[in-house]
């Protein structure tokens, strides 16, 4: 595996008596990574540690190959950051703000002026770049923040809730922009969000953080693949089939006449697939088989499974999916 852009091992951070991060370990590769967690999970605190703005209490953290606690300014020169808040100076023109921040990241005046203009064109604010930010909508301000984060051509961009406050159309456009930054322009992106669907849409990798520790981390395919199994629907003899499948070491979940079959801890017999075991058990008991399909899981399933032992309730589910409680 190529050198990860972020490598964390047992990172901990507390504020006073409040333990915000207890045990954060992850390897973030190049590409777009979603940092997923409900509000208050510790995402923004972790981003602060990545930027070297807070000192960690314990553990090891490497960002772009250096420790942000000791090499903070050097690392921050190579990182773009878009904070969660929407406040920006109202009387400053977008082009001036982006140029000023590019200069702070080390670009000479001429280069920062040109790149500020290019970045604003890229995010769709080319015609609006000389407007005072105070006259812009929330969607346009989010774009200004994104332009400011990429104008100095960083190696890594940290985006904290970049779609917060956007309507569905603006949200789609913002996600498309982030997708381009990560996949077309080759800038690694860490997208902090509490919205599962947007992470699922554009991220290559996902880190799920809950109650201050990493619950799941890996590529989107890996996370979904870890839960791959079969969905079986029977019209009779459910108990008998379930007993047979469990006797050969498969995990079986029951929902009425529907079975969720997953590989257990014991290895499958050589040459036998899960399909074979299920069809054999169904045939052996003479059960009626209505449906036998591959079971696919959504990121929501992965997330909720990761959080279940820690008390995810309907409010949290609603917050993550945007669905009503």
């Amino acid at each position: 595996m190529a050198t990860p852009v972020i490598s964390a091992s047992s990172v901990a951070k507390s504020f006073g008596s409040t333990q915000v991060l207890t045990d954060v370990s992850m390897q973030v590769p190049r590409g777009i990574t979603g940092l997923l967690g409900s509000n208050g999970a510790g995402k923004t605190t972790f981003l602060s540690l990545v930027l070297g703005l807070e000192a960690r209490d314990g553990g090891d953290l490497q960002v772009l190959g250096a420790d942000p606690t000791t090499a903070g300014p050097d690392i921050r020169a190579r990182i773009g950051y878009s904070p969660e808040h929407h406040h920006l100076p109202a009387d400053v023109q977008a082009a001036d703000l982006v140029r000023h921040l590019a200069q702070l990241h080390g670009l000479p005046f001429q280069a920062s002026t040109e790149r500020a203009s290019d970045a604003l064109w890229m995010v769709g604010l080319g015609e609006e770049r000389f407007r005072p930010i105070g006259t812009m909508s929330t969607g346009q301000r989010q774009r200004v923040k994104l332009a400011a984060a990429i104008a100095h051509d960083p190696e890594l961009v940290l985006l904290d809730e970049p779609t917060d406050g956007l309507d569905p159309v603006q949200r789609d456009e913002m996600l498309e922009l982030i997708h381009r930054i990560g996949n077309v322009y080759g800038i690694s992106v860490m997208l902090s969000s509490h919205l599962l669907d947007e992470v699922e849409r554009i991220c290559d990798h996902v880190v799920i953080i809950a109650n201050g520790s990493v619950r799941q981390a890996g590529s989107l395919d890996e996370l979904r693949g870890a839960n791959v199994g079969l969905l079986v629907e029977l019209d009779s003899k459910v108990d008998e089939v379930v007993a047979s499948l469990r006797s050969v070491g498969l995990n079986v979940g029951i929902d009425g006449s529907r079975l969720q079959v997953q590989a257990g801890t014991a290895p499958l017999v050589d040459g036998w697939s899960m399909h074979d075991l299920v069809t054999d058990a169904v045939a052996a008991h003479g059960a009626g088989l209505r449906r036998l399909v591959d079971r696919t899981v959504s990121l929501e399933d992965v997330f909720l499974e990761s959080n279940t032992p820690f008390g995810v309730n309907s409010d949290t589910r609603s917050q993550l999916t945007g669905a009503p409680t």
Partner: protein, 288 residues
Amino acid sequence: MSAQIHDRGYRAYDGERAGERWAIRSLALHSVRRALGLKRSGRHKIAPVLTIIFAFVPAIGLAAAAMFLGREIAENLPSYADYYGLISFALLLFTAAVVPGVLTTDRTSGMLALYLASPLTRTTYVVAKALGIFAVMLIVTLGPVLFLVIAFVFVDAGPTGLEFFTVFGKALLAGILAGVFWTSLGMLISSFPKRWGIASVAIVGTVFVMNFSVALLTEQADAPASLVYFAPPMIMGEAWQRIFGQFSFDLDALDGQPSALIIMAAVGYTLALTVGTWWQYQRIEVDR
């Protein structure tokens, strides 16, 4: 046919990248522009323009008087040592009306979070802001008095020979000390509230309460003369006079104080305010 905007694409930047010192310089220059209201609406230019007018008009008037009324009359006019009294209103106006605008807006507009996500640290942020404010403050504390020294020479009413360099050096010392003092005072008080208006009121209130209460206690209530050391703005004004070898005669309590102690107290307060500002910004909460 409607015009079409083509995708300008994205180009990687492989040019020169400067470091932390460049970031400090950039923010300091940006702070100078903010303080002077450049590239901002007209109302942001009112306070700095008035400040500069109030600071320079007496110097221009004194130089003109010396030129037209002759050397003998010029010698009886207020001079370098008295100039602090002539710019005290301009100093207070600038410190109260402009300094908070350079600092508090970074917190209310979310810029502080963006600055601290750049190569700047909390310390270099304060250094950059202080350099920017100090540079503009020097227009008030140093500009007019240096102008006066040079103008008096040109109209044949100023020091000559070696004395010119002595007076020039004293003007430089007094102007820089006053500049650092008022920069630090304004920055320290502005680092507490998030609102510009509250910081402005707090600066004016602090200066008036300290000066007025010390004057009242020492003049009317027979409090010990050493109480004057508890009014830093008053001490700074007296230090300016003592640098030029004069006494202000503002308060009887100040008369008996040794010049070295007064100047040391002014320097001490300046250092304490500077360290206080730095310390306050190490612990300030940043909204992210």
